[in-house]
Amino acid sequence: VTSIAVEARPASAPARSSERMRRAARRWRYLTNAGAAVVSALLLVWTLTPIYNIIMVSLESEGDVAVTHLFPSPPSAESFWVVVTEGHWYLEAFWHQFGNSVFLAAMVTLFVLLIGSLTSFSIGRMRIRNGWIITNAALLTYVIPASFLAIPFYLIMNHYGLQNNPWSVIAVLVTFATPYAIFIFQEYGRSIPLELDESARIDGASPVQIYLRIYLPLMAPALVAVGTYALLLAWNEYLYQFLLLSNDRSMTVAVALGKFLNSDVAPWNYMMATAIIYALPPLATYYAFRNRMSSGLTMGGVKG
């Protein structure tokens, strides 16, 4: 492109005018660079202020919270120690609750991958008749806000005595994450030639064998992407966990954090330390698998 532009300039142009043009171009470059620097600085402040606040408060020692400052002096890691050793009555079951969160996220991921891949195998690869109905129904679930079904779902679970049962939350999170899984698996599955299935079929492979030996291995990248999505969704979700898991033994870290907030005298430094410990696993997962969740796949991350 630049070469065209250079050639288009008359070769006989006076050196003075080309010098002026070069100077103008340089000035323009300086200006845009300066503008970019300003935008960058604003973005950094915008993005990092609430995060800075979490870290700052978590480094305050107990009496430090109610002091006017922008950074605690001296910073102390005491609150992290209190959280890790469950040294406050609000945090008595912290590791148990952490385990609940892990269990919940793991089960949701497992079932989303299993149900999603089986469904899209049947629709996309075996081409079951009228499979589009299922695809569209799934898409519809994806666009219904999860919070709109919260009240009836809560009452139904209470009716069947499933409150404080992690499986009620696992069920609802699987329901809301599977449509995205089906969508992505079908999109990704189009890149795998159907002839592979056909030839395996001719060699006498059963559908189960084709699913296990051909479909799943070839779908590995999509499985990783959707698995990451489901894991983050389950770990980060709050509303259903809050409604359905209310006692100290069944609740997850997210619910415990919310309970902290609603207490009369919230120990803010412990709360922020808990929040940081809670946020680290999904953050690490996100940055580790960021490249695997290619840009088209980001669509799903919106479901709150």
Partner: protein, 304 residues
């Protein structure tokens, strides 16, 4: 005689062809497997989407509920809040995302690093950061007012004690949390525009702002519209940003439909029917949006 024999055989033939139709191209046990593979998802869909949805519709089917809902001043406030939240939340977020996606197209390592930092609000779970913003805005000990006092010597307002400031704070938090997500999607949209188009436009003399208005935006317009619809639908169901930042307060003046239905009606007043009716009053807005979105998605699937 022969005619009646044919007549007699016809239902059987029809039944057989219907059977063949349902089976599609699948033979023998394959059809059974294909059905077995979709059954888990159909089960999940019926039990956890259809059943709660119908239960909710049944709960909200009493017309007397709506007279109660519409005569509730807090509900009317909530509708106003939801409208303001939609108008500002969706548009500010998407406009910022559109502009920033252009900024992140700039070449160089700095932009890449900045993008990694910029997606933090989206990568961190909503809960810790919203709690952090809640504490930042605390009138006495929050970071914002500390900053105002130390740097300008001025007393900041108590952000969460006035309806409009609190609502503004909730919108701010929502925009802060979700702008990175939409930026990443619009960035992917911009990257999918072939460089040749820009080159051709450059030859025709379109640079700078004209390049944006005549080339980039027309190409992104459809994606932008779909994202607006999606963002509106998701925002209608938003629970976390209001629940954690303002808690619906002061005096229940900053609720959105989802928080009003779940927190105030169901948990505080113990009237889940009222909550269902409040949430269902969004359906006249939600259903047309979903229909338009579904139609748009069919035509622009390739772009997403």
């Amino acid at each position: 005689m022969t005619v009646s024999a044919i007549e007699l055989g016809r239902p059987a033939v029809r039944r057989q062809s219907l059977w063949r139709y349902w089976r599609g191209g699948l033979q023998g046990s394959e059809f059974t497997w294909a059905v077995a593979f979709v059954v888990p998802y159909i089960g999940v869909f019926c039990a956890f989407v259809i059943y709660p949805a119908c239960y909710g519709l049944w709960m909200g089917s009493n017309p007397a509920l709506y007279t109660e809902v519409f005569s509730d001043p807090i509900y009317l406030n909530t509708v106003v809040n939801t409208m303001i939240f939609l108008a500002f939340g969706v548009n500010v977020k998407l406009f910022l995302a559109l502009m920033l996606s252009g900024f992140f197209m700039r070449p160089g390592w700095w932009t890449k690093v900045l993008l990694l930092i910029f997606v933090l609000p989206w990568a961190v779970p909503a809960l810790p950061t919203f709690i952090s913003i809640h504490w930042m805005l605390n009138g006495e000990w929050g970071l914002v007012n500390n900053f105002l006092w130390i740097v300008f010597g001025a007393d900041g307002p108590s952000w969460l004690n006035s309806r409009w400031l609190a609502l503004g704070s909730a919108i701010f938090s929502h925009v802060w949390k979700w702008t990175p997500f939409w930026t990443v999607i619009l960035l992917a949209g911009r990257m999918s525009i072939p460089q040749e188009i820009y080159d051709a436009a450059k030859v025709d003399g379109a640079t700078g702002l004209r390049r944006f208005t005549h080339v980039t935006f027309p190409l992104l317009a459809n994606l932008y519209l779909v994202l607006t619809l999606l963002a509106t639908i998701f925002l209608l169901g938003d629970f976390n940003s209001v629940y954690f930042v303002t808690g619906g307060g002061p005096a229940n003046s900053t609720h959105l439909l989802a928080t009003l239905g779940v927190v105030r009606d169901m948990l505080e007043l113990g009237k889940p029917q009222l909550g269902v009716a409040a949430v269902m009053s969004a359906l006249p807005l939600l259903i047309p949006l979903v229909i338009i979105l579904m139609r748009k998605l069919k035509t622009s699937e390739a772009q997403l």
